[in-house]
């Protein structure tokens, strides 16, 4: 086996990454921190706005009866003889699923389950709050006609139950399970079956609703939570790439961008001057202020690319193909409809 180690070492050592994008990474890290704070603020602001404009109540009566109308998906809580750490188990069609958490309080904490891989808790736990009451993650099994996608997450202490509404009309009721002093829920769906919503309840009633983004033939992504009474933001989708496949999905889940076949979602968007948002190995993309009509990307050799700033709902986005080599030293300039430059900056390395 030492040969394999040597061969792997040689092969992987030949992989030469580009220089470490330290400053761009720190910027992204600050955004993660700010997003955690903004989630709290956005929730509070949204409640105020909803109250001022008199949006009809979104609240539903607390009804937590177990569902019996769906035989395709079952979610069972652990029983007295269940293995330690089991959060839930059941069937998706004829396929059993289960989800457990192990070593919940240690750095080796991980989620795992029947026919699932592993999902480390490290960096995932401890971020729930009243404004973000369940921190959903997810993973899928690896085969079978009834392939399961299991959503799971830590639950805020004030939550007593959650109700999952699936697009086929089924409803699943979840009760948090305590493991090592932390509380978790888990449920499974068939891959490709959209989830309409997850509503969480405290002892005093409805606490929040999440309407996930269900990408076509993909897995649901939970990002934003709506407060009781908060109006659902309208849904928009549209292509925005200039020479590259890019599509934005704006709605109650926040903003999800699919660029170059890779998805990325965020619960809130920075109000942009002309905000860069991201880059991958071959694409740069971003949001733009309402006044921006187009951007030019100037490569280090002086050649330029033009990117249209395209509105998708209330937001504008842009994307252009730009290789990693071209990203180094590239700059963007934003222009309004009259051709006046309204902003500029460097392209952070993706």
């Amino acid at each position: 086996m030492s040969d394999l180690h040597e061969n792997l070492s040689t092969a992987l050592a030949a992989v030469e990454p580009r220089p470490a994008p330290v400053e761009a990474t720190m910027l992204a890290g600050r955004k993660i921190r700010n997003r955690r704070r903004a989630g709290l603020l956005a929730g509070a602001v949204a409640v105020v706005v909803a109250a001022v404009v008199g949006v009809p109540a979104f609240t539903r009566p607390v009804s937590l009866q177990p569902t019996t109308n769906d035989t395709r998906v079952t979610v069972n809580p652990p029983g007295p003889h269940s293995p330690a750490g089991l959060i839930a188990s059941g069937l998706v069609g004829a396929t059993p699923w289960s989800l457990s958490v192990t070593a919940a309080t240690s750095k080796n904490c991980a989620f795992t389950g029947t026919d699932l891989g592993y999902f480390s808790c490290n960096g995932v736990l401890g971020q729930v709050s009243a404004a973000d009451p369940i921190s959903f993650e997810g993973m899928s099994g690896e085969g079978g006609a009834d392939q399961a996608f299991v959503s799971f997450g830590q639950v805020w202490q004030g939550v007593v139950a959650a109700r999952v509404e699936l697009s086929d009309g089924a409803t699943l009721t979840l009760h948090p399970v305590e493991v090592d002093g932390m509380r978790f829920v888990a449920f499974a769906t068939r891959v490709g079956l959209p989830i309409d919503s997850v509503t969480v309840y405290s002892r005093s009633g409805e606490l929040a609703v999440a309407i996930p983004f269900n990408p076509p033939d993909g897995f649901p992504s939970f990002e934003a939570w709506l407060r009781p009474g908060q109006a659902q933001p309208p849904r928009f989708s549209g292509a925005f790439g200039s020479g590259v496949a890019a599509r934005a999905y704006v709605g109650p889940w926040g903003i999800c961008l699919e660029v170059d076949n890779t998805g990325d979602c965020s619960p809130v968007i920075d109000t942009p001057g002309t905000a860069w948002m991201g880059a991958s190995g071959s694409v740069v993309f971003g949001s733009a202020a309402e006044s921006v009509s187009y951007l030019t990307i100037t490569r280090r050799d002086g050649s330029t690319l033009r990117a249209a700033a395209i509105a998708v709902g209330p937001h504008k986005f842009w994307a252009v193909p730009l290789s990693q080599a071209e990203q180094s030293g590239a700059r963007w300039t934003a222009y309004d409809a009259a051709g006046k430059a309204v902003g500029s900056g460097s392209i952070p390395l993706g």
Partner: protein, 170 residues
């Protein structure tokens, strides 16, 4: 965050960036995605840097997130991908430049990419990161027996790979 703390993170990231990208490359088989995964992992570490630095082992923290981020990317990328026995070449894999520079090493990396994600993870963690069977089992949250069986199947697949020269894995 203090300037001193920022500088500490910069030094850490510059030092560990190549290793984390290579780990992610071993797990994903795609350099562009590997860099994305590694950068996302470092960003998450920076977002909680005070806490991460206090652990005294930020390297282990970032490595763990690289594994998690790989799951996350895999999950999203599967919007447009489906698992098959013979994994196709990842989209966007360069056909010139870095891949060519790999030369004969590319054969091993190509064979690695043809493994399933769990088997690939076992091979990379066990035989490149040099984790013991027990450590690999802990990292993947499975039994030592599962590590052994996955490793055995993965090694058999690698040995049978058309890309690899006979005897390379003896």
């Amino acid at each position: 965050m203090s300037a001193e703390s920022d500088e500490q993170f910069r030094e850490f990231m510059r030092g560990r960036w190549p290793a984390m990208v290579r780990l992610a490359y071993g797990l994903t088989g795609d350099l562009g995605h590997a860099e994305d995964v590694a950068q996302a992992a470092f960003a998450r570490a920076y977002a909680s840097w005070a806490r991460v630095a206090r652990t005294g082992d930020p390297d282990a923290y970032v490595r763990r997130i690289v594994i998690n981020e790989n799951h996350s990317r895999f999950r999203r990328r599967r919007v447009t991908e489906s698992l098959v026995d013979a994994v196709p070449e990842p989209a966007g894999q360069p056909t010139a430049g870095p891949a060519d520079a790999l030369g004969d090493n590319e054969a091993l990396l190509k064979a690695l990419r043809r493994l399933g994600p769990r088997q690939r993870a076992v091979i990379v963690l066990r035989f490149w990161v040099d984790m013991s069977e027990a450590e690999t089992a802990a990292a993947l949250n499975c039994s030592v027996g599962t590590v052994k069986s996955q490793a055995s199947r993965a090694l058999a697949a690698l040995r049978g790979s058309a890309e690899l020269m006979e005897g390379e894995l003896q």
